[in-house]
């Protein structure tokens, strides 16, 4: 390999490929699938997987593969957008704490500790039950529950970058704090933020699916992998395919995100 080239571990490359394929499948779902998302086929309800319905059909005769692909749109969107919310919040809070120091740092870190001490899933379940959010609000909730880890690492990173001579130099020539932070400190935080983002995508998808599984997340008629499982759990013995496929897609997607995240972490620590 030529020097300077970025080496991508094989598993991470495969994971990225699978993730891109999933996003494409979700985006092109109406084009790919011969069935409409909510087309009923009452003659073929609860049909087992077959050549015409690869994943079988549900209790209303809707094609499960089609619903899984449409569910992917919601689940992936929640995962990616909530991760963006988490990481942006985490960078803002972590950078503020690390840069400002003193009582601002102390206060923000106590809040971070407090948020970390409250079990995340029950907290979100109560929040979702109380606020009964739509999908957009659900994304914000999941995002707002995931900034703490990012804030901690970003704070540490900012503290160490702050001690560098180039930061002192920038301040010496009269650059204002916001400019120093934006131009000189935050670029150094980007690799950490990239790792945090991949892990947050997986976590967001898992949290959404758990919330929907307990009936407080994405509500029917919208489909997400989690609420498909919510509807499938009572008929798991008679129509296991209704539960197995959506769950397998959650697993596969989160696995890909975590594989990429792990590869990035390994690169960062071996350096």
């Amino acid at each position: 390999m030529r020097p300077g080239a970025i080496e991508i571990p094989r598993q991470a490359a495969i994971a990225l490929g699978v993730l891109v394929a999933l996003v494409l499948l979700a985006a092109l779902a109406p084009v790919i699938s011969p069935f409409a998302f909510d087309a009923l086929d009452l003659a073929r309800r609860r049909a087992a997987p077959s050549a015409s319905h690869w994943f079988g059909t549900d209790e209303l005769g809707r094609d499960l593969l089609t619903r899984v692909l449409f569910g992917a749109r919601v689940s992936l969107a929640v995962g990616f957008v909530s991760a963006a919310v988490s990481v942006l919040l985490g960078i803002a809070i972590g950078a503020t704490a690390g840069w400002a120091g003193r009582w601002i740092d102390a206060l923000l870190m106590r809040i971070t500790d407090a948020m970390l001490a409250v079990p995340r899933l029950p907290l979100l379940m109560i929040a979702a039950a109380v606020l009964a959010p739509n999908v957009a609000a659900l994304v914000l909730l999941v995002g707002a529950a995931g900034w703490m880890e990012t804030a901690r690492v970003v704070r540490a990173e900012v503290q160490s970058i702050k001690a560098n001579d180039f930061v002192t130099a920038a301040r010496a020539v009269g650059a204002a704090s916001p400019r120093v932070v934006m131009r000189h400190v935050l670029p150094g935080v980007l690799p950490t933020a990239a790792v945090a983002t991949t892990l947050a995508v997986g976590r967001g998808i898992l949290l959404e699916s758990a919330l929907s599984f307990f009936g407080v997340g994405v509500q029917p008629p919208a489909a997400s992998w989690g609420n498909m499982l919510y509807q499938a759990q009572t008929t798991m013995t008679s129509e296991p395919w209704l539960g197995i496929f959506p769950g397998a897609f959650i697993f596969l997607t989160v696995l890909c995100c975590n594989a990429i995240g792990t590869a990035l972490t390994d690169r960062a620590t071996n350096r």
Binding site: R110, V118, V130
Partner: protein, 314 residues
């Protein structure tokens, strides 16, 4: 001031912030804790007004918060909306089941993590398999794993019961153990995935330290170096990580207990969630958070007492 006292002084503001968060969350509902009744055509507006007064919900939020917190600290957690019994009573009767499930699965996860972590630090092949297994374990949705195991071992193979803590007929020790297997396996997988990775890392770190080289130079066998020197070095931070994961354990217990209808605090929580039984939900969240803060306090104090390196220069 001693270390424990200083650490305790940090925990108090932490708990205050948490209590504000929990209180604020419940009162963020449009209509407050009585929102469930607002949509109910059988409940008249004057009844709601009366309930609001009776429950003190018409007082300023700050006053409500202070009296709620004072009552909570005294152990008065209010009454369940669902059946009118004291929340304390409902929670205490569920504690043994949860302790049993969490205790057994934590023990199993610790054993698996130590075996896998040490194996992975020593053998490349084990390391590869363990790292794939660990990423998979961290990625699998816990409730889905539970459903699939139920399908496989209870419905298809018929080897194990799918839910509950014991059969209706009562059943002996074997029956109770059979009921434990699946929920314990699910929780243990979720925990061992992260912990084994951590232990592998700290054993490898210890193996790179001069003291293990010194032991090697004295002719100590490799297996003895790992078990007596490196593992010992790695176990204390590992124990801390296990204790600090109490928050994740609480989330895991909620999911696992619900899927397997395990009659513990976790399934009490999901039952309360379905009925919007806010007093129970608040008490659960507070207790879980207090437990997390307490365990992390104990972990810090124990490490401080056991590991001289963490004490710094006097």
């Amino acid at each position: 001031m001693s270390f424990a006292a200083r650490r305790l002084a940090q925990a108090v503001p932490l708990l205050l912030i948490i209590s504000l968060l929990v209180f604020g969350l419940i009162h963020a509902a449009p209509g407050g804790p009585l929102s469930l009744y607002l949509d109910n055509p059988n409940v008249r507006p004057e009844d709601i007004a009366r309930l609001r007064r009776a429950m003190g919900l018409d007082r300023p939020l700050g006053t409500q918060y202070v009296s709620w917190l004072a009552a909570f600290v005294r152990g008065d957690w209010g009454y369940s909306y669902a059946d009118g019994r004291p929340v304390t009573e409902r929670m205490i009767e569920r504690v043994p089941a949860t302790l049993q499930l969490v205790g057994v699965s934590t023990l199993l996860a610790v054993i698996v993590s130590v075996v896998v972590g040490v194996g992975a630090a020593l053998r490349r092949g084990v390391d590869r398999a363990a790292s794939v297994g660990s990423v998979a374990g961290l990625s699998i949705p816990v409730f889905w794993l539970g459903l699939v195991l139920q399908l496989l071992f209870s419905n298809t193979l018929g080897w194990l019961p799918s839910s509950g803590r014991a059969s209706f007929a009562g059943g002996g020790l074997a029956d109770r153990l059979a009921h434990l297997v699946l929920p314990v396996a699910v929780l243990a997988v979720a925990h061992a995935a992260g912990w084994s990775r951590y232990l592998r890392g700290s054993v490898r770190l210890a193996l790179a330290q001069p003291f293990t080289n010194a032991a090697r130079a004295r002719g100590v066998t490799e297996s003895r170096i790992v078990l007596r020197h490196a593992l010992r070095h790695a176990l204390l931070p590992f124990a801390t990580v296990v204790l600090l994961d109490a928050s994740i354990m609480a989330s895991g217990a909620v999911v696992t207990e619900s899927v397997f209808a395990w009659p513990g605090i976790g399934s009490l929580f999901t039952e309360a969630l379905a009925k919007r039984d806010y007093t129970v939900l608040m008490a659960f969240l507070m207790c879980a958070s207090v437990a997390v803060v307490t365990l992390s306090f104990l972990a810090d104090v124990a490490v401080h007492a056991l590991d001289p390196r963490t004490r710094g220069e006097p």
